[in-house]
């Protein structure tokens, strides 16, 4: 066989070097050779940007090259930066929280970081002067309610939890009543992790949304997406959008080496805006998403 594991190991050792090293090597070339374009393709795909979005981006850049707008390496770097930022800028606008109370459903795949994100967002809006109520809507996972309760205690936030196996929609119903009675501004709802192909679980989210809407309560849905997610992230985002609508994405675990490249594909296909970034396991490890800064970090 014309192929050795050894050579592949070597190759992998090379990929281990961070994204920025590869980029540096792409942009250290002096001219726009075929090799540069190939390297750029590899770089984007190994950052989880996905084949079709990568092709789109490269297509745009090649088009600009043909028109003479990109002539040298620096121009290419600049052009790539613009292309990436442009994708993330789609649909960006502030998350409207004017209604009182507003319900925020935090949804996503199992283990994405929903519960931690609910705690972080709770802290974020608490610091912004809002009265925040947490709802431990993950009644499926063992100790799922307990996990959020502990965060609520540490942060000095109110939290409504039910028994394991309780109906999350009923819990939300109660939460809305008490938010109205006690004057909370933001009702932040943790939900059980779910795999987007399970229609009955997705319907359950729709039901929760419906409960709030029938009471004339505004609902925002935030999807939590792990930065290490590969191409499956596109299917996840699409399925959640179809089931409950998407007002934004929170990308978690960006404190690791994962760059969240699938976000470009998600933005390309769905145009759903990224709102926040999770950068650690503590409640303060949350920043508002900034496309420029994000792309700069990706390309640095």
């Amino acid at each position: 066989m014309s192929f050795s594991i050894g050579s592949l190991r070597q190759a992998a050792a090379k990929t281990r070097s961070a994204f920025r090293d590869r980029l540096a090597s792409v942009f250290s070339k002096s001219e726009l050779s075929a090799e540069v374009w190939d390297d750029l393709e590899e770089m984007l795909i190994t950052a989880d940007v996905g084949v079709s979005t990568t092709e789109n981006i490269l297509g745009e850049l090649r088009g600009r090259e043909r028109k003479g707008q990109i002539r040298e390496i620096d121009g290419l770097r600049e052009g790539l930066h613009q292309e990436l930022v442009a994708r993330l800028n789609q649909g960006i606008s502030a998350l409207a929280l004017d209604d009182q109370p507003v319900v925020i459903l935090v949804v996503g795949f199992n283990g994405a970081g929903k519960t931690t994100t609910v705690a972080k967002l709770g802290r974020y809006w608490q610091q912004a002067g809002k009265r925040v109520l947490l709802v431990a809507g993950d009644t499926f996972r063992a100790a799922g309610g307990e996990q959020l309760n502990i965060w609520a205690e540490r942060l000095g936030l109110q939290c409504i939890a039910g028994q394991r196996g309780a109906d999350a929609a009923a819990l939300l119903f109660d939460a809305i009543a008490s938010a109205r009675a006690r004057g909370f501004d933001v009702v932040l709802v943790d939900t059980a992790g779910r795999i987007h192909t399970k229609t009955n679980l997705m319907d359950e989210l729709g039901k929760m949304r419906g409960i709030a809407q029938r009471q004339q309560i505004e609902v925002r849905t935030l999807l939590v997406l792990d930065a290490s997610t590969g191409q499956n992230g596109i299917a996840q985002a699409r399925a959640f959008r179809d089931a409950v609508g998407l007002d934004g994405i929170v990308v978690t675990k960006l404190d690791g080496t994962a760059k969240g490249g699938v976000l470009f594909a998600v933005a390309d296909e769905l145009g759903a805006p990224v709102r926040f970034v999770g950068t650690g396991e503590q409640p303060d490890d949350l920043v508002v998403f900034d496309p420029e800064a994000f792309v700069t970090a990706v390309l640095e």
Binding site: F3, A12, H196, G230
Partner: protein, 444 residues
């Protein structure tokens, strides 16, 4: 979402079929589709490149091009190459003095705690006596989560509400020894592979308990990042295997293939659902089919063999031959199929059909309702009607609909389905040996 690979390749070759002869250029076109499918399945870029090169070498200049079914030939080669890369079926190390110590490690949220409980249940079912240990004092309620899962699986849990994970693990090993248990399964905290302090902690736990297995728990939706993660865990802690989780969705788990290929660490188990029974030993051929989007007929057949009573199958066969297969038997058949597992999962295993059908609304809850309705309708018939449905005219139909709380058109639908099944069954030739059921035929 994506067409399955086989579907795409069929289309490529269909177009070419109209041209007559196939050349190298045509194979190249097919290989482009193969490359795309693998990348969409998150197989690592470099691994894809190597694989495609080898497939090209095997496909061009061989009898593939002359074959009547070149698309299938190419798929077959790709499949074989993937199976080769994926290694051996998964098995836990055995031998040595008990307890065997298994550590589960991985990124945050990859599914370690659930996998620990599943593995414990899996071992318990094999007559082993495992102990679970909660060595994650960091994530709120992680210890409590394992405690609850231990109660659910009736497996003892060594848990301390606070403390150092190394000391906890050591104490757990003592407990396992003095109670003469067979396995100790240690659930560790999730961590980033770049966190040196926490990676050092894993090294210390491993040394303190002389772990025989260190299993990396990886989420099947992970992308190209998988390689970096697995390599660092492997070089710092030393891995003996991988558990790939959350495979009950549509993630194809291609990243896992790359990890096995590049680090040499074998895949051992797959997590296929939220229930604690949902863990399966890894099989390379099935994984290869999944990565290619070819469905998983083998798992389907296995489920069928577990759920379906073969004597009953033979009985059904006899009834069909003698023309006495009636609506009562039909109901029994439906119930048997439902025993095989959630419908969306079953559909997902059928090549080509899979996910699209499952997505088209044939969801689990809907399927359950449908079965209940059908059941009610058949149970509202008299025994004579079940044997001779042609007797069912307008008034009988109204009575049955009323009795089952459905409508006349529901009743018609069940009767129509029954007639179709009857016809289908007549067209399947009876085989002599009951072990010889060629389920593959069903999927052609």
């Amino acid at each position: 979402m994506f067409d399955t690979l086989s579907g795409k390749l069929q289309a490529v070759f269909e177009r070419l079929g109209q041209k007559g002869k196939l050349g190298e250029k045509d194979v190249e076109e097919a290989l482009r589709e193969v490359r795309l499918a693998l990348l969409e399945a998150d197989v690592h870029f470099r691994v894809v490149r190597g694989l495609v090169d080898r497939v090209r070498a095997r496909a061009i200049g061989s009898e593939v091009l002359q074959s009547l079914t070149p698309a299938q030939q190419v798929i077959k080669i790709v499949h074989e190459e993937l199976v080769g890369l994926l290694g051996e079926p998964g098995k836990l190390a055995s031998g040595g003095a008990p307890p065997q110590v298994i550590m589960l490690v991985g990124l945050q949220g990859s599914g370690k705690t659930t996998s620990a409980a599943k593995l414990a249940l899996h071992l318990k079912k094999q007559g082993q006596r495992p102990l679970l240990a909660a060595a994650d004092p960091y994530r709120p309620a992680a210890v409590e989560q394992l405690r609850i899962l231990g109660r659910q699986t009736e497996v003892p849990v060594h848990a301390e509400s606070a403390g150092d994970p190394v000391a906890i693990s050591r104490a757990a090993l003592q407990e396992a020894r003095s109670n003469h248990l067979s396995h100790l399964i240690i659930d560790t905290a999730g961590r980033l592979q770049t966190d040196n302090a926490l990676m050092g902690e894993l090294q210390r736990i491993k040394a303190a308990v002389s772990a025989t297995e260190v299993l990396l728990v990886a989420d099947s939706t992970i992308g190209q990042e998988a390689l970096r993660v697995a390599e660092t865990f492997h070089t710092t802690v030393g891995l003996t295997g991988i558990i790939l989780t959350k495979l009950d969705g549509d993630a194809r788990g291609g990243a896992a293939l790359s990890v096995r290929e590049v680090t040499g660490v074998p895949l051992k188990f797959l997590g296929t659902g939220e229930m604690l029974e949902a863990i399966e030993p890894f099989y390379p051929d099935r994984m290869a089919s999944r990565i290619l989007g070819m469905g998983d007929v083998l798992s389907l057949i296995e489920r069928a063999q577990q759920a379906v009573d073969l004597d009953q199958v033979e009985e059904t066969r006899r009834k069909i031959r003698s023309g006495t297969f009636d609506l009562g038997d039909f109901l029994e058949q439906l119930r048997q199929v439902r025993k095989m597992g959630p419908l969306d999962q079953l559909l997902g295993m059928i090549p080509g059909v899979g996910k699209r059908l499952a997505k088209a609304g044939e969801d689990e809850a809907g399927a359950q309702d449908e079965l209940k309705r059908t059941e009610a309708i058949i149970l509202s018939m008299t025994p004579v009607e079940r044997q001779r449905p042609e007797l069912i005219g307008g008034s009988r139909r109204r009575r049955i609909a009323k009795g089952s709380g459905t409508s006349a058109s529901d009743v018609n639908r069940v009767l129509g389905q029954f007639r179709q099944i009857q016809q289908l069954m007549r067209s399947v030739p009876g085989t002599g040996s009951r072990r010889n059921i060629d389920l593959g035929r069903l999927f052609q």
